[in-house]
Each structure stands twice: as structure tokens, then as C-alpha cells.
Amino acid sequence: MAGGAKMATNELKNQIRRLRFENGEMTQQQLADRVGVTRQTILAIEAGKYAPSLPLAFRIARTFSVKVEDVFQYQEIA
């Protein structure tokens, strides 16, 4: 298991849903298959319930041919 992964976070925003639709309306299952996780994990990441490990974040970004920062944005919560 990759270190640093969390079950839930409100600080990490993501653009996965938008990127999926911009990439030929890719389904969550198709994205999950491409990055080697289950569909439930993609659901949880999209909903902000799970913060992925760095390797998984990179795999998602590379699937969309964008930088990690274009997929995930960290927001400071005061």
C-alpha cells in the first residue's frame, strides 16, 4: 500500500469528472481499468472521499495527458 493515502479528505479537489467527459466521455470503469484500480476507487476519488497515492495520481494524470496539478488541487482549509 502506498504511504500517505487517506480515506477521506475535503482539502483535495479534483477535475477527474470533467477530464473524463473531455476525453471521449470516458466511463469510470474505463478509467479504473486504465489505471489499474477498481471502479469503487475512482468513485471515491471523484467524490473527494479518498485521496489517492502519488503513483496513482500520476497514472490518472498520464491517462488524460495532463499534469498532476491539472487533475488534483490542494486547498488550504483555515
Binding site: 470503469q29 481499468d33 489499474g36 484500480v37 477498481t38 471502479r39 469503487q40 489517492p52 497515492s53
Partner: protein, 151 residues
């Protein structure tokens, strides 16, 4: 149903239902033998085995069916969920064991004793309870029907 859950969830459901059935069967046998003081009426070795293999066969087909061909057996989130479920189960079992010992001491007193065969049932009960808590903890973390975050 088979396609809305991943393998970890399906195994957890199988363990949960199997454990509950085992508990129910144990309670039935216990009541028949120790309360009603008679040997339980079975439905025959053949039908028992048939029911067992039928349930096991259906469960194996259900568990092996994947959401897609490329779906891994488990990923990093599944491992995290399972790790937490083990921790929850471990703590719960210790609390349960402590409670069992305390209750036994309160009921039987300091010099009381229990039959040796009861230890087997206590051990079996603890193991099954651990499995029950482990499975429940997994399903709770997924959101029961696996629709967490499904929009």
C-alpha cells in the same frame, strides 16, 4: 448485483452471511442439545451437503464475476479498508473477550468453574465474531452497497 461491487465487497458479504448462518445453526444446535435436552433432528447428510455445495458454488461464481476484465482483485484503497477492518476487529475481539471473562466471573464467582467443552465454543464464538466485525467494518467503509460517491 454482481457488477456493482468489487471482489473485496463480495467476499465481505459472503463472510457476513456465512457467519450469520453459522451462528444461527449453532444457536439452533445449542438450544436443542442444552435447553431442550435432545439430539437435533437433521435433514439428512445428503441434503445438508447439497445445500452447502449449492451455496458455496453460487458464492464462488458471484465472487469471481468481475466488473470488467481488467479489474484487479484489490487495489490500494481496498488494502487500506481491509487494514482498518483488521484493526477494528482486533480491538473488538479483545473487548469482547474481556467482557466475557468479566461476565463469567460475576455469574460464577471466584471459585466457579465451566465445562472444558465450553472453551471450544468460546474460541469458536470469538473467531466468528471477529469475522463478523471484520466483514461489517469493510462494508461500512464502502458504504454498504458500494455506491459511495456514485453520481
Amino acid at each position: 448485483m454482481g457488477n456493482i461491487m468489487n471482489k473485496t465487497q463480495k467476499v465481505a458479504w459472503f463472510n457476513l452471511v456465512g457467519t450469520l448462518l453459522f451462528f444461527a445453526f449453532g444457536i439452533y444446535i445449542g438450544v436443542e442439545m442444552f435447553v431442550l435436552k435432545r439430539l437435533p433432528e437433521g435433514f439428512g447428510r445428503f441434503w445438508g451437503l447439497l445445500a452447502f455445495w449449492l451455496v458455496t458454488g453460487i458464492a464462488i461464481i458471484f465472487i469471481r464475476k468481475k466488473q470488467s476484465r481488467a479489474e484487479p482483485d484489490s487495489d490500494e484503497r481496498d488494502e487500506l479498508i481491509k487494514k482498518r477492518a483488521v484493526q477494528i476487529s482486533f480491538v473488538s475481539v479483545w473487548l469482547l473477550l474481556a467482557a466475557t471473562i468479566l461476565i463469567a466471573a460475576l455469574i460464577l464467582g471466584e471459585t466457579g468453574s465451566i465445562p472444558v467443552y465450553l472453551l471450544t465454543f468460546i474460541n469458536l464464538g470469538v473467531f466468528l465474531t471477529a469475522l463478523l466485525i471484520y466483514s461489517t467494518a469493510i462494508l461500512v467503509q464502502y458504504g454498504w452497497r458500494g455506491k459511495d460517491g456514485d453520481k
